[in-house]
């Protein structure tokens, strides 16, 4: 399997971004969505918000968002990919970092007190420019980096326990430990993921869902409509 170092310079030329640098410590897991399975039901958003904010409904607070990309539509879930070079953490100007990686659990954490919020926004910008745009803010009530932390603390012993993975009816979210070099994850914007899915699975993506019958060569291709 082709393993390439992640960098912003060759972003366009790389294939799907693969992780080679820091192998996770034993037991650490990543969320690895299979975008081809998503139907756009957004139950992940519902349970994400419930886990982090209690019994309220507001998709803007979800750490995972479903985008409906046209041509299509195709439903594409976007959430933090735990890029091994963490350009978001690198971008955080606060010392010590307000956005940092918990090295034991390998999850991204935000210090809500020290985070400067949407007026800074550099982590979100880095993610949007370089990766998939998985960080946002919700001022004024939640003016800190809203980003997936794998539901850290939700587990029975306080360990991460991603609710999206538990609640997705279609099995989109794989929460697993990659074994050195195995597996890859997207850290791309939704349109790019949709294009890649189209390449691999060839569903139709057209601006126009149907050609005019006056443009069709009805006698062509054997003349059979194909039953």
């Amino acid at each position: 399997m082709n393993i390439e170092r992640v960098s912003s310079e060759n972003e366009e030329r790389t294939g799907p971004i693969l992780w080679d640098v820091r192998l996770p410590p034993a037991g650490a897991k990543y969320l690895n969505p299979d975008h081809s399975l998503c139907t756009g039901c957004r139950l992940c958003e519902y349970y994400c918000v419930k886990q982090h904010h209690g019994n309220i409904i507001n998709p803007e607070l979800s750490r995972v968002r479903i985008y409906h990309v046209f041509p299509g539509p195709m439903a594409i879930p976007i959430q933090c990919s735990n890029c091994s070079d963490y350009p978001c953490v690198e971008a955080c100007p606060v010392e010590p970092k307000a956005l940092y990686v918990d090295e034991k659990k390998f999850v991204l954490k935000v210090d809500r007190e020290r985070c400067l919020g949407h007026r800074c926004g550099r982590c979100a910008e880095a993610c949007k420019k370089l990766r998939s745009g998985a960080i946002h803010f919700y001022p004024p009530e939640h003016d800190y980096a809203i980003v997936c932390d794998q539901c850290d603390g939700a587990g029975p012993d306080g360990e991460p326990d991603p609710q999206c993975a538990k609640s997705c009816p279609f099995g989109v979210f794989f929460y697993s430990t990659p074994k050195g070099g195995e597996g890859w994850r997207y850290a791309w914007p939704p349109e790019r993921i949709a294009r890649d899915l189209e390449e691999r699975f060839k569903p139709a993506r057209r601006e126009r869902l149907a050609k005019s019958p006056y443009e069709i060569d009805w006698a062509g291709e054997g003349g059979e409509t194909g039953r």
Binding site: C41, N58, G72, A204, R206, P213, G222, T225, G226, R227
Partner: protein
């Protein structure tokens, strides 16, 4: 303020481009709940009898209910207007993602009035509203429209409700479309939007769900809903079939029941039906499954034509759009079925409705009532995919004979005549749904479909005038992939709003109120020019035929059967034998305010 509601509607006057917040009327909300019920009240109050459906005074009301956005199946909207197809109450629902977004933007609904001078689209983002130029999008299909608007507004999370060319061309059966997959298909809402020169309504809402009376209870019930949809019990058979095959699973099943529709309702069973059924569609064409907000069923199954001349066509056919487009016209051709659906999908046309028109035209052609010349040279024989596709295209673009047919049954039947009324499978101008009229309506109602078609307030559609259906349209809640039974729906409503409604007493009471209010509106409008209602709540001759083939062998609904059933329906629903609600029933249900105008329309006079 009651929980669940956003507390206001957005009224847009297209003539001067102004926006106005209309506070929610608490009495009306308690009396009519929301969605269809509340919109009917707005329509009654804000329009005069005799409004021109395609004129500036008609309203297009697209609205949500108090539980919209709360659980799976609640991201549903109701479109209410005066219908250009029937001249009666126009009403249709759609799912997707737009309705919860509208609620999260802080609105219970949008009311369109007037007429814009040039094509526009509306942009609503929380409290900001704007009229945007849509001249560059006018003429585009619904998928391309959604894409262009998302790009132009630079927000991929914008939800778009739009029309296609069929709505722009004011076709009587043009639809409103959400996310290019969800259709408020029937009775021509798309034409009303098109008549106002509105291409789309784009919404973005970031405020989340409005306060709820009892949020913990709401969550408890809606999580139950998710579990029930996936459970072994109750709806599991239906849900499983729909997960696997989509509603198209019903085709073979319905033929086995003898109640399918084939060759313009000629037969109820057919040996070739498996060629169009869900299992075959799964193997040949299915490429994706999609859901609505928070629903784990994923019943939108999208198909792609992979080979042949129609290769590349992309559509999400459902039960009726398959039955009426393909089985109705004897087109046992999977690719052709997907293609014709794709045309309707992209052009924003009601596949179910237009299928009935095409099937009627085919029978006319067979009987020599319409000649090849009448049909612009189309050899409109049964099962001819090319001819059907071209006729549908012409109808959506109002080209040639399409211009005559685009107006709908009430428009072209008087023109064509010559006995073709006998096999025009419609009632009050709206074509039938996908069930044979003789068959029993077994969603729990002891009437035949023919009775239901004849008394339905929008005309001959199968989503009938019933407490269940009208409640679903008002809550709003999907009547399709249901997880909550009626009692639990009311529990969720009470938990969200703080209401104290009882089951079955209030459920039935409100249900009857919704039904009689719709009927009252139709009477006020003159019932399409045919009064009393019993003169218009009728069926074509072909509805009474005797069946001879397969599972339908020996079946028949006689005129006597139908009349008995219809009279029973009238009596069971607070109406007299002329189909007019009694004054007692109206007063008892809090609808006394309708009596004056109904009287003026001659409801109880001779």
């Amino acid at each position: 303020m009651m929980g669940g509601y956003a507390g206001k509607h957005l009224e847009v006057d297209l003539t001067d481009g102004s926006f106005k917040n209309v506070p929610l009327d608490e009495w009306a909300a308690k009396t009519f709940i929301g969605g269809q019920g509340y919109a009917n009240w707005l329509l009654w109050k804000m329009t005069e009898p005799g409004t021109e459906p395609l004129g500036p005074d008609n309203l297009l009301i697209v609205s949500t209910g108090p539980i919209t956005g709360l659980a799976g199946g609640t991201d549903r909207g109701d479109a209410t207007f005066k219908s250009p197809l029937t001249g009666l109450w126009g009403n249709s629902q759609f799912g997707g993602f737009w309705c919860s977004e509208l609620k999260f933007a802080g609105y219970d609904g949008i009311i369109l009035r007037g007429m814009a001078e040039n094509p526009v689209f509306l942009w609503v983002k929380d409290d900001e509203t704007e009229v945007m130029d849509a001249r560059h999008i006018w003429g585009k299909g619904v998928a391309e429209t959604d894409q262009i608007i998302k790009e132009e507004l630079k927000d991929p999370l914008v939800r778009v409700l739009c029309i296609g060319p069929a709505g722009e061309n004011l076709c009587g059966e043009a639809s409103l479309v959400q996310n290019a997959q969800h259709y408020a298909a029937r009775t021509g809402g798309g034409a009303v939007m098109g008549s106002k020169n509105v291409k789309a309504i784009a919404v973005r809402g970031t405020k989340g769900m409005p306060p709820l009376a009892d949020p913990d209870e709401c969550f408890r019930i809606s999580e139950n809903d998710v579990k029930t949809k996936w459970s072994e019990r109750s709806m599991h058979r239906r849900t499983y079939r729909w997960l696997k095959f989509g509603p198209q699973a019903s085709h073979v099943e319905r033929a086995d029941h003898g109640i399918g529709i084939f060759k313009n309702f000629d037969e109820g069973d057919h040996p070739d039906v498996p060629s169009l059924g869900g299992p075959r569609q799964l193997r040949m064409c299915r490429v994706r499954d999609d859901s609505c907000t928070y629903c784990p069923v994923g019943c939108i199954h999208t198909s792609l034509v992979r080979s042949g001349p129609m290769k590349g066509s992309y559509a999400s056919p459902k039960w009726d759009s398959t039955a009426n487009i393909a089985q109705q016209t004897s087109m046992f051709d999977m690719n052709g079925m997907v293609y014709c659906n794709a045309i309707c999908n992209d052009l924003g046309m009601d596949a179910e409705g237009v299928g009935n028109t095409v099937a009627w035209a085919m029978e006319c052609y067979e009987k020599g009532i319409l000649s090849r010349e009448d049909l612009d040279g189309l050899d409109l024989t049964w099962g001819n995919v090319e001819a059907e596709a071209k006729l549908i295209w012409k109808i959506c673009h109002r080209e040639g004979v399409g211009d005559l047919l685009a107006g709908g049954f009430k428009h072209f039947l008087p023109e064509v005549g010559r006995g073709s009324e006998d096999f025009a499978m419609q009632s009050k101008g709206c074509g039938f749904g996908g069930y044979q009229p003789y068959a029993w309506h077994t969603f729990g109602m002891p009437y035949r479909w023919g009775v239901a078609y004849s008394v339905n307030d929008i005309g001959g559609h199968h989503n009938t005038a019933s407490a269940s259906a009208y409640w679903n349209n008002s809550l709003t809640y999907c009547s399709f992939a249901t997880g909550l039974n009626d009692r639990k729906k009311l529990d969720l409503l009470n938990a969200a709003t703080g209401y104290d409604l009882t089951y079955p007493e209030d459920w039935n009471r409100y249900g009857l109120r919704f039904i009689l209010f719709a009927r009252a509106y139709n009477i006020r409008e003159g019932y399409g020019g045919v009064m009393p209602p019993s003169e218009a709540d009728v069926l074509p001759k072909k509805a009474f035929k005797k069946f001879t083939y397969g599972a339908a062998e020996g079946e028949q609904m006689t005129v006597e059967d139908w009349l008995e059933g219809r009279l029973r329906w009238y009596k069971d629903h607070g109406c007299d034998e002329r189909g007019v609600p009694t004054k007692d029933a109206l007063r008892d249900l809090g609808l006394e305010f309708t009596i004056d105008e109904m009287e003026k329309a001659g409801a109880w006079g001779t």
